[in-house]
Symmetry: C2
Subunit: 171 residues, 2 copies
């Protein structure tokens, strides 16, 4: 398609990092890194009767307490039916509380219980400690670049959500 392994003209930085080989490396880095990224919480979840989907739900309910089901499924990018199964078990097990909306009684607002918050913390502690090690290892400038590229890889809708969460927490 494009240049496959063209020896890049020296000094041309705009071409330098856009060879197919460079891009392929980035793709593989994403694949392998994502495996590492999920490995620690997955290990914890394997013991319990939960999966990665439960972790994600706990994470985003914790990040935005009182969020509605509709909100959450847009964030997670799954159908409401898929989310519902996960949510049902979390509610049955007393990790998540679902309150009928005051203004609009069709909506359910989601909150973590004490127990839910405890599991969320356990999972995200595991994930954060790997992240922390990686950040420390790579240094602050690398971290800035890391975030910049990841952000550029998101769909615009997801990027908007990503920003909204950040701002929500800084208010």
């Amino acid at each position: 398609m494009t240049d496959t392994r063209a020896p890049h003209p020296a000094g041309n930085e705009t071409l330098l990092f856009l060879t197919d080989e460079q891009l392929r490396q980035g793709i593989e880095a994403m694949f392998f890194a994502y495996r590492g990224f999920t490995a620690d919480p997955d290990r914890i979840l394997a013991g319990l009767s939960y999966g990665r989907a439960h972790h994600r739900a706990l994470h985003f309910i914790n990040a935005a307490p009182g969020t509605t089901v509709n909100n959450l499924l847009r964030t997670l990018g799954v159908t409401k039916q898929s989310l519902n199964r996960v949510l049902r078990t979390l509610i049955e097990d007393g990790l998540v509380e679902s309150r009928v909306g005051r203004a609009d009684r069709r909506e359910r607002h989601l909150y973590l219980t004490g127990e839910g918050a405890a599991l969320e913390r356990q999972l995200s502690d595991a994930q954060r400690s790997r992240m922390r090690a990686a950040y420390r290892n790579a240094g602050p400038e690398a971290v800035a670049g890391f975030k910049k590229v990841l952000e550029a890889m998101m769909d615009s809708e997801l990027r908007a959500q990503y920003h909204a969460m950040r701002e929500g927490r800084n208010e």
Copy 2:
């Protein structure tokens, strides 16, 4: 656990990017970016009767032609039963060729056929074009940082594989 939203002492860069909030942002960035990362090939695959698992197999067979089944399943991090299902359909459909090993006739060496290479190219073109846009958008320094952090996030075994692939292609 650690400091939850401690106002970081100004000027201390080592602490600056290691607050839980910073780490949480990184975690969410990974999550949203990975969605974008897989979105384009997934869209193409949805039309065909293949899934993400097929894409991954095609990718790594293309990256290391002649690789063995054992090799591939270690790279992908799945069981042979799981890989076999995917591989069988790809071989039946004539996208992948499986040759008995010359030296060790127990081994099967895997190659893409013309048709397989064509699909691989179609899928990775889609993925690369998003990657290219992200790289261009973020700039070369950000890309260096991006790779540095991703690499630091990998398990050491995966990091070794990642490096082996890079060197394999640069010989």
